[in-house]
């Protein structure tokens, strides 16, 4: 294909602003999918994505429009997947930025737009949902123009739902987005921007060819890792897999590697031809590091091997997922898992429970800490229970947060951010009504319930996005919990020194309410080192018996007893104390009153 006839682009948008619907219309309008084949949002393959209205894995679909080959590279829409968006964007020359005509610019719109600008992409701004009664296309167009530069009149107005204006979007892609540059005659180079795993065909690499071309049955080498394989097949998606003779410079498609081990081909690597190798790889991506950690334990300890297998399988399609075995005195054998953010954690948890039918206990999430140990080096700690008690310094991750709210909620948001140790950076009026607040916040203050709090204090009007800004020193202490004098590793938390007392107090109060009364008094304590900072007692129960039990009551009584037994089985044994699984999540909702 002539490079000048190729356009590679993504659609980027805040969640629910209509990215997938627009992609569907593009496939329809270009006759890539017939009306009969058309099911809503064909690009979202996974059941879960469909339900949540989000897209996890990027995919590339080739369409033709007025003699041009257009490659639509799908990107996920959520903050947690910024790194996936960013690597998909590296395969493009342009991006269609979609904004809901009724909602206007939102936090993810800003984040995605900045990513696109950082990647030197040509932005085609689009206001979607102009058919909605509450739509205000002119206001939204003004906001976009303000954000990405340019004139409000250049912003296209469409309804992806009805199809109105979609042809003009395709025309604009052809007219405004530059053709890829690259040398078809140079040694072959292709960027692996995503991959997937098929149990029969092995690793499937999604690539953007920059120079030269790739053909089936040719020996290929991944330059960074040095992995060698023979390309079993090359091709593109339209929208299903179509094998092709070659993939040429500027084109986007897939390479079936036949590799059975996903770790042998990393996203961000450069493929080249073994016969005529390139000398320099393409600039790759930086490795993404998980920042949010949590322990995953099977409710039934017999499920441990099943959980391990499930995590292995998930990891095949989710390079960002990190896990290592963890043993908790309280919860038994499980895994400490690292995630990009809270949504990522939630999705992994749901997939484990739904696709693998596992019943899991997920501990409260925490962030990664950098710790300078006494007479030692900096180490990274992923689990509060592993935080050394003796240390010289601790650093915690900070994020740059953008929060967009109607102006009347600025006060409550600032108050929340102050409570969360936020540092105000700046404030911008996006329109007379809407304000962007930029803050730096410790990630640890976000992982528990920040988003819920933000939503409740702004009646759901706030939109929020963040990216990790790096590690900063923090005055942090480790708070341990003891139940009947037994330390419970799964309940340890790292908190700012000033918050240690109220948080410890709130946690033991919470635990007192969650732990059922036992045959004896149970002390619940929070401690920093050996210093107890809060204590509550779960009083022994004195009576637990149904008064009446005659001939007509026996079955009911037996069923109650079975229920009681089943309840006991779900308890975790901490020393002699039976602790319900819910208690281990107590640390999640400590804010009911304690910090308000």
């Amino acid at each position: 294909m002539d490079l000048a006839k190729i356009r590679n682009f993504s659609i980027i948008a805040h969640i629910d602003h209509g990215k997938s619907t627009l992609a569907d219309r593009v496939l329809e309008l270009t006759k890539t999918v017939s009306g009969r084949e058309m099911r809503a949002q064909v690009l979202d393959t996974m059941e879960l994505e469909r339900e949540r209205g989000i897209t996890i894995k990027a995919q590339a679909v080739r369409v033709t429009w007025k003699g041009h080959e257009l490659n639509l590279i799908d990107t996920p829409g959520h903050v947690d997947f910024t790194y996936e968006v960013s690597r998909s964007l590296q395969a493009c020359e342009g991006a269609v930025l979609v904004v809901d005509a009724a909602q206007g610019v939102e936090a993810q719109t800003v984040a995605n737009a900045y990513l696109a600008i950082e990647n030197d992409l040509e932005i085609v701004p689009v206001v979607n949902k102009i058919d909605l009664p509450q739509a205000d296309p002119n206001e939204a167009a003004k906001e976009i123009a303000e954000l990405v530069g340019g004139e409000p009149d250049d912003v296209l107005r469409i309804s992806a739902k009805t199809g109105e204006g979609v042809a003009a979007v395709l025309d604009a892609i052809v007219e405004r987005i530059p053709a890829p540059t690259g040398d078809p005659a140079a040694p072959a180079r292709a960027l692996v921007f995503d991959s997937s795993y098929d149990q029969y065909r092995g690793v499937v690499a999604f690539v953007r060819v920059v120079d030269g071309s790739f053909a089936a049955r040719e020996p290929v080498r991944a330059m960074a890792q040095g992995t060698r394989f023979e390309a079993e097949e090359v091709g593109f998606f339209a929208p299903t897999m179509r094998a092709a003779e070659t993939l040429g410079a500027g084109e986007v498609g897939y390479v079936i590697t036949g590799l059975k081990d996903v770790s042998r081909l990393r996203v961000g690597d450069t493929l080249t031809s073994e016969r005529r190798p390139a000398s320099e790889p393409l600039p790759g991506y930086k490795d993404v590091k998980p920042m949010v950690f949590s322990g995953l334990f099977p409710t039934d300890s017999d499920d441990y091997p099943a959980l391990r297998d499930a995590l292995e399988r998930l990891k095949l399609n989710d390079a960002a997922l990190f896990y290592e075995p963890e043993t908790s005195q309280a919860l038994g054998f499980g895994f400490r898992c690292g995630f990009l953010g809270l949504l990522h954690m939630e999705i992994v948890r749901e997939r484990l429970e739904r696709e693998f039918d596992l019943d899991l206990l997920v501990t409260a999430p925490n962030v990664a800490y950098r710790v300078l140990e006494r007479s030692a080096d900096w180490v990274e700690v992923h689990n509060p229970a592993e935080m050394p008690r003796e240390l010289d310094a601790v650093e915690e991750p900070y994020v740059r947060a953008s929060i967009i709210v109607p102006k009347e909620y600025v006060g409550p948001v600032m108050e929340l951010n102050n409570d969360r140790r936020g540092r105000f950076d700046h404030m911008e009026y996006l329109s007379p009504e809407r304000v962007l607040l930029a803050y730096e916040l410790p990630l640890a203050e976000i992982v528990l319930d920040y988003y819920d709090q933000l939503k409740s204090r702004t009646r759901g009007y706030a939109s929020f996005d963040y990216d990790v800004a790096g590690f900063r020193p923090g005055d942090l202490v480790r708070v341990d919990v003891l139940i009947a004098d037994e330390p419970v590793d799964a309940l340890s938390m790292i908190v700012h020194r000033d918050a240690a007392y109220p948080r410890g107090r709130a946690l033991v109060e919470r635990l007192r309410a969650e732990i059922p009364r036992q045959y004896f008094d149970v002390a619940v304590q929070a401690a920093i080192g050996s210093r107890v900072i809060a204590r509550e007692t779960v009083k022994a129960k004195r009576k637990d018996v149904l008064a009446k039990c005659y001939g007509g009551d026996i079955t009911r009584k037996r069923k109650l007893l079975e229920k009681q037994k089943a309840g006991k089985r779900r308890m975790k044994q901490v020393g002699a104390v039976e602790v319900p699984q819910e208690a281990f999540l107590a640390v999640l909702n400590l804010d009911d009153g304690s910090r308000r």
Partner: protein, 381 residues
């Protein structure tokens, strides 16, 4: 195992009441004076259909309700006269229904034990319970029964009534003891889901649950101190009656896992590994028996393991040690060890006459009995 023709315990349900008490979740029918005769006719028809299940000689008959003594005198007498004789025949009675005439009627028809629903002697608490009788009705009923010659009277008391102070409870027990009943049943008020009472007082009961937690202990201590045997979780029998065993023989049969036949609407029977509950609907019951058919029932099969678990569950309510032989699969030895260390259960040696050697039996301590449900849930493997 019990076979057909060997059931020695008969329960007869008489659902009629003058009014329904808010806390009650039994099968009861208010009013319907015109149906008493039809109901008794149906009961006797059902008895004929089931007679082959019964042993030639019964140990116990128990008439429960409802308010059995609210049934029209003529019909009640007809029923009592037609029921097979037994060693112990108990009738439940509400104080306001007991007259010298009724007492004499019961007496001449073979009834030798009356269970009187006193509940409380506090007028304001009786009102909370929707009880019709006043405290004096209770005492009067008791004396009428005594005068008619009843030397085995049980009083029912309820504690944990919304608004009941410890002093109220003490006074109730004192007044009950003053009557020197042979037997006492003391129940904690339970607001069963769906009852009018749970709706009206549920929140209040939950609020006061902690304050009233000690009431059960208080009841046990006071009655044991007054010379009663705490022979079952909620039941107490006087011990100063010489050779007479004043425990409820009928109810002991339930707790010892014996088979029993229940007649009447909503009545439950357990015979030979099958448990069934007759329809609670009066119209269906009357129609079926009027046509000579068995009324509809809900059947539950009880496999051996379930029956053994029930035996443990029921047996642990009693103050008699439960022989462990035969329950090896049901009792969790590790849990038993833990409970022994906590002072909630103990194993006691038991002379095994058949084997001529000593075998172990399981008993709960007083503290263990107060926590009986939790302890049983722990013990059952």
């Amino acid at each position: 195992m019990t076979g057909p023709g060997s059931v020695r315990h008969l329960y007869v349900h008489l659902p009629f009441c003058a009014s329904r008490c808010g806390y009650c979740d039994f099968v009861t029918v208010v009013g319907r004076g015109g149906q008493h005769a039809a109901y008794v006719r149906a009961l006797l028809a059902e008895l004929e259909l089931e007679r082959q299940t019964l042993a030639p000689e019964l140990e116990t008959v128990f008439l429960g309700g409802g308010t059995p003594t609210f049934t029209e005198a003529g019909q009640l007498e007809r029923l009592l006269a037609a029921l097979p004789p037994a060693v112990e025949v108990t009738v439940e009675a509400n104080p306001e229904t007991v007259t010298p005439g009724l007492a004499a009627l019961l007496r001449r028809n073979g009834v030798d034990r009356v269970s009187l629903g006193a509940q409380t002697f506090r007028p304001e608490l009786l009102r909370v319970l929707d009880r019709v009788a006043g405290p004096d009705d209770v005492r009067l009923a008791f004396y009428y029964l005594r005068d008619a010659g009843f030397d085995n009277i049980s009083l029912d008391l309820i504690y944990g009534i919304p608004g009941q102070e410890p002093a109220d409870l003490d006074a109730d027990i004192k007044e009950a003891l003053a009557l020197r009943p042979e037997h006492l049943s003391c129940y904690e008020l339970e607001a069963k889901a769906g009852t009018r009472f749970a709706h009206a007082h549920g929140d209040e009961l939950r609020r006061q649950a902690e304050a009233m937690e000690s009431y059960f202990e208080r009841v046990v201590e006071t009655l044991v101190g007054a010379g009663y045997r705490w022979y079952e979780t909620a039941n107490f029998a006087r011990m100063d009656a010489g050779d007479r065993d004043l425990r409820s023989r009928h109810n002991l049969a339930y707790w010892r896992g014996r088979d029993y036949l229940g007649l009447g609407v909503g009545a439950v029977s357990t015979v030979d590994g099958r448990r069934w509950r007759t329809t609670p609907r009066l119209a269906l019951y009357l129609a079926a028996l009027g046509a000579g058919r068995r009324p509809p029932r809900e059947l539950e099969l009880l496999p051996e393991a379930v029956r053994r678990a029930e035996r443990v569950m029921l047996g642990l309510r009693l103050d008699e040690p439960l022989p462990l032989a035969g329950f090896a699969g049901e009792v969790d030895a590790a849990a038993l060890g833990r409970l022994e260390r906590l002072g909630l259960a103990r194993t006691v040696p038991l002379a095994d006459r058949d084997a001529g050697r000593r075998a172990a039996a399981l008993a709960l301590t007083r503290k263990g009995r107060l926590l009986g449900d939790a302890v049983t849930a722990d013990l059952l493997a």
